[in-house]
């Protein structure tokens, strides 16, 4: 067990063995949550995803956590006593995908190799290039569905659902749930219920 520099002495950073054990102990509901979360982050990135899918984002989060477990400055450290493993992974994916967006804006469409993607050899000496498994950005289904069309589809589908329309508009402006509750006159329960309907529709849309 290692204590990360600059953090509280009570905060224990997980070792790589503990990270692997935590992966094995995730529940089916948590795996589903991880995939859903990664999917929405990737859809949000749009062109900035550059052909990456949910699995690339999830993989990067794991690799970054394993790097962090080595005690150096690289990677993301999982403070296992303070944060649940799933919340750590969700936070890592949020941060990584934001970084991808910024990198896309900085570098343009210049292709960048995924951090975790390295050419490897299997036991038989066959060269494995993970990039060969990358989805082709040109056939990314989300790219073919322009952002405007997504917004129109949401407006049409929820035309008779005032709560959902309010929540969609609020989210487009980046409002949080407490801000929506305070500013839109909706209860938290209504906001969450609307969110669930929107999630369900968006997942079916793409």
């Amino acid at each position: 067990m290692k204590k990360p520099a600059g953090r509280g002495t009570q905060e224990m950073c997980a070792t790589s063995a503990e990270v692997i054990a935590a992966i094995e102990s995730l529940s089916a509901e948590e795996f589903h949550r991880l995939k859903k979360f990664a999917g929405f982050r990737i859809r949000g990135l749009g062109r900035a995803a550059m052909g990456r899918d949910y699995s690339a984002l999830l993989s990067e989060a794991v690799v970054s956590t394993l790097q962090g477990s080595e005690g150096g400055l690289e990677g993301r450290k999982w403070a296992k006593n303070r944060v649940r493993f799933i919340n750590h992974l969700l936070g890592a994916m949020r941060s990584i995908s934001s970084h991808w967006k910024e990198a896309f804006e900085r570098r343009g469409t210049e292709a960048e190799q995924l951090d975790w993607m390295q050419t490897t050899e299997d036991e038989d000496g066959n060269v494995l290039r993970p990039s060969e498994n990358l989805a082709d950005a040109r056939v990314d289904p989300f790219r073919s569905c322009a952002a405007k069309e997504v917004l129109d589809a949401l407006d049409n589908h929820f035309a008779a659902d005032e709560d959902a329309l309010l929540v969609i508009d609020a989210k487009k402006d980046g409002m949080t749930v407490p801000e929506m509750v305070a500013g839109l006159g909706l209860t938290e329960k209504k906001v969450n219920a609307a969110m669930q309907r929107i999630r369900y529709f968006v997942e079916g849309l793409l």
Partner: protein
């Protein structure tokens, strides 16, 4: 520099907001949505677990390869370095013998359970020990402290 248009920015914020709502949702909501979508959670768990395992395995294998390469580079360096040792077998043996005579404390390093007698050492052993002593900077040390 590519810019996102206003619609893309709006969709991005909306999708990121939906992702946040996934994080905050109760387990019962997540399970309910999966059921409505007809998702087989066990199959999906296998798929996602496979993604995580595969990423972890690839990373650990890469670290292993890097460690192996670093070790091999260090060994190559040892072999390729010019140690300026005597050219003959007897010369190297004499040198090591002299070092051990003058610095008996090194005997513990050279003489192990495997090599109890100096005579049992092969030339390869002798050369290896001399190289190690050289690398450690112990071969050039004066046998006794010099006095002014």
């Amino acid at each position: 520099m590519p810019k996102f248009d206003k619609h893309e920015e709006a969709v991005m914020r909306l999708m990121f907001g939906l992702a946040d709502s996934v994080e905050e949702a109760q387990p019962s909501e997540i399970l309910e949505e999966a059921e409505k979508r007809g998702v087989n959670l066990l199959d999906e768990a296998e798929e996602v677990r496979g993604v995580l395992r595969s990423a972890g395995r690839a990373y650990l294998q890469r670290k292993l390869r890097e460690s192996r390469a670093a070790y091999e580079a260090a060994v190559t360096n040892i072999h390729e370095q010019n140690y300026d040792l005597p050219g003959s077998v007897s010369g190297r043996r004499q040198l090591l013998e002299g070092v051990l005579r003058e610095r008996p404390q090194f005997q513990g390093i050279v003489m192990t359970a495997q090599h109890r007698n100096f005579g049992e050492l092969t030339d390869e052993d002798v050369t290896s020990f001399l190289r190690q002593l050289k690398i450690l900077g112990l071969l050039d040390m004066p046998a006794t402290p010099t006095t002014k």
